[in-house]
Structures are given as C-alpha cells and as structure tokens.
C-alpha cells in the first residue's frame, strides 16, 4: 500500500513536469529570431524563376500550411492535440517529409549508441569503483586517477581524440557515417557486420567518459560505507565478508541511482554532439540541421523525446530508490 502510494505520487509529479516541458518545448524554438518560411522563400528567390508577387503568394501559402498565421496560443493547442495523436507535424525544411518519418530514421541510430553506453558504463563504472575501494593500494590509485581523467573529458573531445588516433592516423576503423556507401539499412548479418565498425568509436567515446564518472562516485561512496558502524558490528559478530559486502553495495548504490537519472540528460546531450563528430545519422545530426534551418517541428519533436527520456529515467530511478531504501519510501508515503 505504502509502495503504491509512493509510486502514485512520483507518477503524478512526472506528469506535471511533462506538461511544463511540453510548453517549453513548443515555445523555445519559436523564440529563435527569424521565420522558417522566410528562409524557404529566400532560397526560392535566390534560385530565380519566381517574381515578387509569386513569392508573396508562396509565402502566404506556406504560412497557412504550417499554421504560422494563427496566434501563438492557437498554434500551441493544435500542436498539443497533434502530439497526443502521435503526429509530430511536418518538417519545414525538408517539406513535405513528416517529422515522424525523420525521427523514425534517426532514432534507432541514437539508441544503438546511447543505450549500451549507459548500461555498460553504469555497471562497469560501479564495479570498478567498488573494487578499487575494497582493494585499495595501487589498483585504487590507478583506477581513481584514470576515472577522474576520463570523467573530466567532455565526450565530444574524447570523440575527436579517438577519431584522430584510431580512424585518421591508425586507419583501423572508418572515419564517419553509420554504414558503408552503397548499402541500405536492413536486418542482415552482412549489414550488421558493416555497421558495427562504424559504431565502435562513438560508443567508446561515450562509454569511457561514463565509466569514469560512475567509478569516481562509487569509490567514494564505498569508502564511506566501509568505515560505517554496521560494517564494524558485522565484523565483531564474525559475519563473513561476502555477506557484508552486499550490505555495503546496497547502501553505496543509492546515490548512484539518483546520479544515473541526473546524468542521463548530460549523457544524451553528449551523445548528440558525439554524433556530429562522427557524422552519425542519429538525432544529434538531425537536431543540428534543424536548428540551422529554424525547423520548429523537428526541434520540438527531438527536445520532446529527450524530455520524455529524462523524465522516465528520473521516475524509474525514484521508484528503484524507493525499493532499495525503506527510509525514502517511509518519508515519501508519510508512514514509518
């Protein structure tokens, strides 16, 4: 019962944040100076072939088509209505492609890099930090300095270094893109074998940074727990170290879950920029192009996706922390 109430509260808060995020997602791209139709019509005028009056007509036509002639609040409600029907709109810059199609093409590439990076980075980072704290000595010093270095490098900088060393100088892996020229994405072993050579570098640039950050956090938490009273008491009772280690891990894990949720936004942003470095055809490249062209629907759609991902991650972390720590559950549901 307490748990259900705890989860209910968390879900309700997530929904409130989602509504606010939806409004900001709509508003922020539209606050960028300039008008997408001006850009499109400007390009037409440069190409020649259309007179002033025709351009005027095309301009009005586009304004109407995109709904930009309506007041902002009406646009917002149309946008919200469409979003809830799963329609993210039509791209301005790549007219008449629908945003859904563009995202569907880009999203799998981004997920393919980021999801494994988050999972592998979190697990390896925490294990490394915990082992370093237990073993101490040279292993600890080496792991700590290495992790500290990795966690303070921005992913895109590491991406550039890896790109230069492994792809440009070493020539071991391809320089950019997601698959070889001439292939089309399909579910076949041959395509997978090709695509994975392009996948390694962006993946490593993310996962290394992430392992570093997690290891540094876990190490200090584990060292702190090692000195706590319950570890001493367990020792005094002759409890096997193997059992006590589980107590320590569980307690040290708590802030790591919260940290995971908090850092997921940073990891996604880092991933988007890393995609640019490797010209990887994911959301990052799509977003970057869209910002350059004032393509409101695409920008809004991608930021909305990121918002949802971050919100879900936070919700999941909150619920997991509640499961692991009875005190948090008790405080949140108002029980003891």
């Amino acid at each position: 019962m307490a748990l259900a109430r705890y989860i209910g509260r968390k879900v309700a808060w997530t929904l409130v944040v989602f509504v606010v995020a939806l409004l900001l997602n709509f508003l922020l791209p539209r606050l960028i100076p300039g008008n997408p139709v001006d850009t499109i019509v400007g390009q037409l005028a440069q190409g020649g072939g259309a007179g002033g009056e025709q351009l005027q007509q095309i301009h009005e036509q586009y304004m109407k088509e995109f709904g930009l002639d309506k007041p902002m609040w009406q646009q917002f409600f149309i946008y919200v209505g469409n979003v809830f029907q799963g329609d993210l709109g039509t791209s301005f810059a790549q007219y008449p492609a629908s945003v859904n199609t563009l995202i569907a093409q880009a999203l799998p590439w981004s997920i393919a890099i980021m999801l494994p990076a988050i999972i592998v980075g979190w697990i390896v980072g925490n294990l490394l930090g915990a082992v370093a704290a237990f073993k101490g000595g040279w292993l600890d010093r080496g792991a700590f300095i290495g992790s500290l270095f990795l966690s303070s490098v921005p992913p895109f900088a590491l991406a550039i270094i890896l790109l230069f060393l492994v792809a440009v100088k070493g020539g071991i892996l391809p320089v950019g893109g997601a698959y070889s020229f001439g292939l089309t994405p399909e579910f076949s072993l041959a395509f997978f074998g090709d695509a994975i050579t392009y996948w390694w570098l962006p993946f490593w640039s993310l996962v290394l940074v992430y392992i570093g950050g997690q290891a540094v956090g876990m190490r200090s938490m584990a060292i702190y727990e090692l000195g706590s009273d319950y570890v001493n008491y367990n020792r005094g009772l002759g409890v096997k170290e193997g059992h006590t280690v589980r107590y320590i891990f569980r307690n040290a894990m708590l802030p790591q879950f919260t940290g995971l949720a908090l850092s997921i936004a940073a990891l996604i942003t880092g991933g988007l920029i890393t995609e640019l470095v490797f010209s990887y055809p994911g959301l990052g490249s799509l977003l970057f192009a869209a910002i350059g062209q004032n393509d409101y629907p695409v920008i809004s759609a991608i930021t909305l996706l990121i918002t949802i991902a971050v919100l879900i991650a936070n919700l999941a972390a909150d619920i997991l922390t509640g499961f692991i720590d009875p005190r948090i559950r008790a405080v949140q549901s108002g029980e003891r």
Partner: protein, 289 residues
C-alpha cells in the same frame, strides 16, 4: 566459579602520524564465570580500546603489540600479526556496540542480519531455522518477534539497543563486551537493558560481561566488580561496593567525587577540579582489592 577469561599483558598502540599513542599499557585482567566486570574511566583512559582488543575487533590505526586471551583453556595470541579465527568473533567473544543506532545497515531488515550472523557460523543452517531460533530468543527475553521484520529506522532507540543485544548474543558467546550500551538511552531504557543483560547472564546465554562505561551510577547497579582505568592502566580493581564507597587510589577517589549524584560519603565534600594529566595520580601505586 572459575575464571572465564584471562587477558594478559595487553598493549594497544595507535600508530598515528608523528607519534604513537599508547592507549592500553600492559594491562592484565581476569573475568570470573558469571560476573559483570565494569570498566570505568574518563574519555581517553583506554577503556574502549581495551574493550575492542578483547572483543577481537582491533584494526588500524590501533595495533595490538602484545597480549594473549585465554578462554576455556584455549589461548589466543593477540599481538603482532596473530591470526584470529573469524569464528571466534560472535561465537566466543561478542561485542555490543556503542550506540546501536547505526549498527544495523539502514536498508536491511533485522532478519537479514540475524540470518547472516547465524549462517556465517553454521554454514548449513536454513533461513527458517535461524529465524526460529532468533524468534524464540526474542520472546524469552520479552521482545515481540515482529522486530525481525522491521527495518532499523522503525525501532525506537531502546528497542533497537535491546534488539542489538540479542543479536550480539545469538550464538551464545562466552563473553560479551558491551561498550557504552546505555549511553544513548533514557533512564528507563537503561534500566530495562541492564535488567535484560543480567537476565541473560542468569540464563547462561553468555557467561560473563565486560561493561565499558563512564557512567558510574549505571555500573553501581550492574557490575559485580569494577576496574578503573587511567592513562592506559588499571589503577584500581575490586568489588563494586569497595571501589565505589571506599576507593583507595587517588584517581578513583577523584572520579567518584565528581559524580553528580554522589555516594553519601561524598555528598558534602567539595568537588575538586582535575587536570587532564596528573603526574601524582599516574605515579600512585595501583590498588587491587
């Protein structure tokens, strides 16, 4: 009634940067079968250090340079790099920690700790059997069996301290070293805890208790004998009434006169201040009644 524990020539030193601090200086002490031995003294006198050496949990920066512990004819070397078997802890000598508040991991239920303690010593024990035994012990000593299902934060301070006391003695240790077990409790809870300890002793759950505390009134009710420590040495040792009412060592006299609710003999005397280290106290010969 024979001797239960014979601890001899214990020397405990804190290796700190700059200089080494000798906290326990060549102390020998015997605990008789069935008795509560009070270990009193001011902060820094070495009583907690002696307690943790005897309960076999000394760890850096504390180093045991010398000492042996004899229980039931078995002699365990404590000094240097002596290997102390893990199973001695908890089953032969057990500890009751100072302030039980943080002694149980906040994210584990009591029953998990109970099970882990039992199976660390009896690898074949089933979870049911371990919990059954704990349940029986709890009810014998007047605690509800449902504390097993609680998390530490769900228990009150007094309840938590009593629960920890029971966990400490689950394996029927020969000796229990209780380090300031009553310090964080109100007077009522203190009384209940001491009565419980005495009941456990009577039931032979453990055969002897070392009660480390600076709280002299508590020792007066709980201890059969009292050892007074000062500057890493035992300066006076004897039956409770004698040490409390007719102490002979100047430090013990000063300590007794500083109790706020003094013995009648001191009720009308002026409280003398004490410097932190008094050479004359240190040089005075130890008194063993």
């Amino acid at each position: 009634m024979g001797t239960l524990v014979n601890a001899e020539n214990i020397r405990g030193v804190y290796y700190t940067e700059g200089k080494d601090v000798v906290a326990v200086n060549d102390v020998s002490i015997k605990i008789e079968e069935g008795e509560v031995l009070g270990l009193a003294g001011e902060s820094g006198s070495g009583k907690t250090t002696l307690g943790s050496i005897i309960s076999l949990i000394a760890r850096p920066p504390l180093h045991v340079e010398e000492g042996t512990l004899e229980i039931d004819g078995q002699v365990q070397e404590l000094g240097g790099h002596a290997k102390i078997p893990r199973t001695w802890r908890g089953a032969v000598v057990s500890m009751l920690p100072q302030g039980a508040m943080n002694s149980i991991s906040p994210t584990k239920r009591i029953r998990q700790l109970v099970y882990d303690v039992m199976r660390s010593h009896e690898s074949k024990i089933s979870k049911e059997e371990a919990l059954d035994r704990a349940r029986e012990r709890l009810t014998t000593l007047g605690l509800p069996a449902r504390v097993l299902d609680a998390y530490p934060h769900q228990l009150s301070g007094g309840m938590k301290q009593r629960t920890v006391t029971i966990i400490s003695t689950l394996l029927n240790p020969r000796l229990l070293v209780a380090d300031e077990p009553t310090s964080a409790l109100d007077v009522t809870s203190q009384k209940i805890l001491i009565e419980m300890l005495l009941e456990m002793l009577e039931k032979r759950i453990m055969s002897g208790v070392i009660f480390v505390t600076h709280d002299l009134p508590v020792l007066r009710t709980a201890a059969n004998r009292i050892a007074v420590m000062y500057q890493g040495k035992i300066v006076e040792l004897g039956p409770t009434e004698i040490v409390v009412e007719r102490p002979e060592h100047p430090y013990t006299q000063a300590l007794m006169s500083s109790v706020l609710a003094p013995e009648p003999a001191y009720a009308n005397t002026r409280i003398e201040g004490m410097s932190s280290f008094d050479r004359s106290l240190f040089d005075a010969p130890a008194v063993f009644h």
